[in-house]
Amino acid sequence: MAKQINVALIGNPNTGKTSVFNRLTGLNQKVGNYPGITVEKKQGIYKYGRGRKVHILDLPGTYSLNASSVDENVVIELLLNKNDKDFPDVAVVVADVENLKRNLLLFTQIKDLGIPTILAINMADRMKRKAITLDVQLLEEKLKTKIALISSRKNEGFDNLKDLIENYATLSTKPSLNASRIAPEYFDRLRKAFPQQDLYKLWLVITQDVNFGKLDRQEFKGIASFKTESVSNLKRLQQKETVARYQFINETLKETLHIDVENAKDLRSRLDRVLTHKIWGYVIFFGILLLIFQAIFDWSSYPMDFIDTTFASLSEWTKTTLPPGDFTDLIAEGIIPGLGGIVIFIPQIAFLFLFISILEETGYMSRVVFLMDRIMRRFGLSGKSVVPLVAGTACAIPAIMATRNIENWKERLITILVTPFTTCSARLPVYLIIIALVIPDDRVLGIFSLQGLTLMFMYLLGFGAAIFSAYILDKVLKIRSRSFFVVEMPNYKIPLPKNVLITVVEKTKAFVLGAGKIILAISIILWVLASYGPGSFNDAESIVRQQFASENLNEEEIAMHVDSYKLENSYIGKIGHAIEPAVRPLGYDWKIGIAIVSSFAAREVFVGTLATIYSVGSEEEETIKNRMAAEVNPVLGTPLFNFASGVSLLLFYAFAMQCMSTLAIVKRETNSWKWPMWQLVVMSAIAYVVALAAFQFLK
């Protein structure tokens, strides 16, 4: 069998490179991370001819081989390293027929590396409509390459492209132009020093190390002496190089490409007039945000309720079917609800990415960046951070996954770190019950409900905390990142359903496989802690029966008291007791302590846990509320849930990182435990201090 062909798919952003990748590989793709960094690595395979395997690596989009971000650096590192197992036998440069000039800059650079290179001109189906004519044969000659005219939208030209890939060995490896003429003397010296090496490759190593930082390069020992050219001289040379390349491209295209300018006036300017308008632009954007919000908040609730009841009945079924015992309990009460806790997020993730991929595919997202940049940059955020921050109001999990679309790592990290401050829907049950308990049911100015205003204040507080901490993080975090801002405003396109579908499937898979195992593990641990305990825990039933022997309770009431007793004496109950000294200054007792510890699984668990502890056996809000209102603070003798402790609890839940699933997804998205742990510690500390101050001040 012939050896596998390694193909690298390279191209500018917005050339439809990913559509080409999807067309070539179908769902036969794997998405992971490059080791040690958070850049997505997409690869796939297809079979061709007599079972020959073609392996395709979809490299991050880049405008040139002069990296200014970690993503772009991945491309250069691969192309400079012949020993990399992914080093391409052939490079396919994807270009967009309407932006051919700019796309060819990258093409000529790759050609200079001596790698067999195919030029795939995408969106060829638009040529006729746009009155574009291209002399393919002449262009092939000038560029010393083979060209495939393709359309991923219409699925045309892919057989030709696959043929070219199959026959890559016949491609010319000569450069399209001689770039070293920009500084003949310097390059002569370089050539003499490294006669074995490709000249352009040497040049890339030198400029790359100066621009982007140094990696270990055994094969280029001694190259350091060529960096003595001052940095600004090197920059000037790079500028000259770019200009020279564009000169070559302009000359080449003058002879081969013809665009009828009259016909090129199109939809774009008409749409932009509205979508980037100073008023309408924002109105439309907020309308879209509202729609996204509606989808992840409201529409998702139907499949989520279904998932909830399905897993509950599955758990019930397991319990009644399997022989009773620890193992059955583990499956029915630990593993099945744990899995349910993962699956429940899928509808929200799918909806959010449905919208985001449509916004990206249509080219609208660049307009969002344009509109929001001025406002967001003050806080060290990207214009694109708006989408995660708003989505975070429903749930931080999909929101944090949505930060992938932010190119700048520092802006992305800040967005990830501050998104959990926004008021997610899991905080809502906690807020509602506490507000109902401690905020009087009065009206302000006769119209506004005081309770409603308090809830609104909690939302504003969450958003304010996110923005404020972004501002602080921007000042504190020392991360090398691009300091300038250039955004391409691509043409508007109708999204390809296949691309949208693949994104949604890919993101869902990434969540289930990436964060799911952490969520499952933590939820099983929490279940074990709540379901087992030392000493008297195991005699709960007889102790409770003895205790209530005189009260003539029915079986159901006894069972509730047994549950309550068990929870108090379980390991989690012991933890609750143990942390009581720490939470007492906040106005809480050990019961609230238990509820706080167990709501680490998810914030809304707080309410259910209190229901169990108070042995009310029902999660009816009214019942729990009445029971909570009757609780008395053992030290002060006042009602436990009064204004001071209520406000303290509200603030605690506003700031605390009470969500293991969020930690799991942050771990996945930042590719390390450092950031989620940092988040956990800092957010908990803020929550503690603020809640403490509030209680001490108000009591």
Partner: protein
């Protein structure tokens, strides 16, 4: 000094020479080259960022960067 930042909406100009010490190479690579025609398509509120059409390349850059690129009106 007349720069891209002083362009009014709809105005056209030619980009003059500029130094890479103050303007990122990336901008050059994306098609903002000396000698090219530039045209202001749209500005965001507070006149920042600027949405430009440079010889068919559509880019958005910040006012700060734009104020470093000299132009000549046509």
């Amino acid at each position: 000094m007349l720069t891209i930042a002083s362009l009014k909406k709809g105005q056209r100009a030619i980009i003059k020479e500029f130094s890479v010490d103050v303007v990122p190479l990336k901008l050059l690579e994306m098609g903002c080259l000396p000698g090219n025609e530039v045209h202001l398509v749209q500005t965001a509120p507070f006149q920042d960022p600027l949405y430009l059409n440079i010889n068919g390349s559509h880019l958005a850059i910040r006012r700060e960067t734009a104020s470093k690129i000299e132009i000549e009106l046509i």
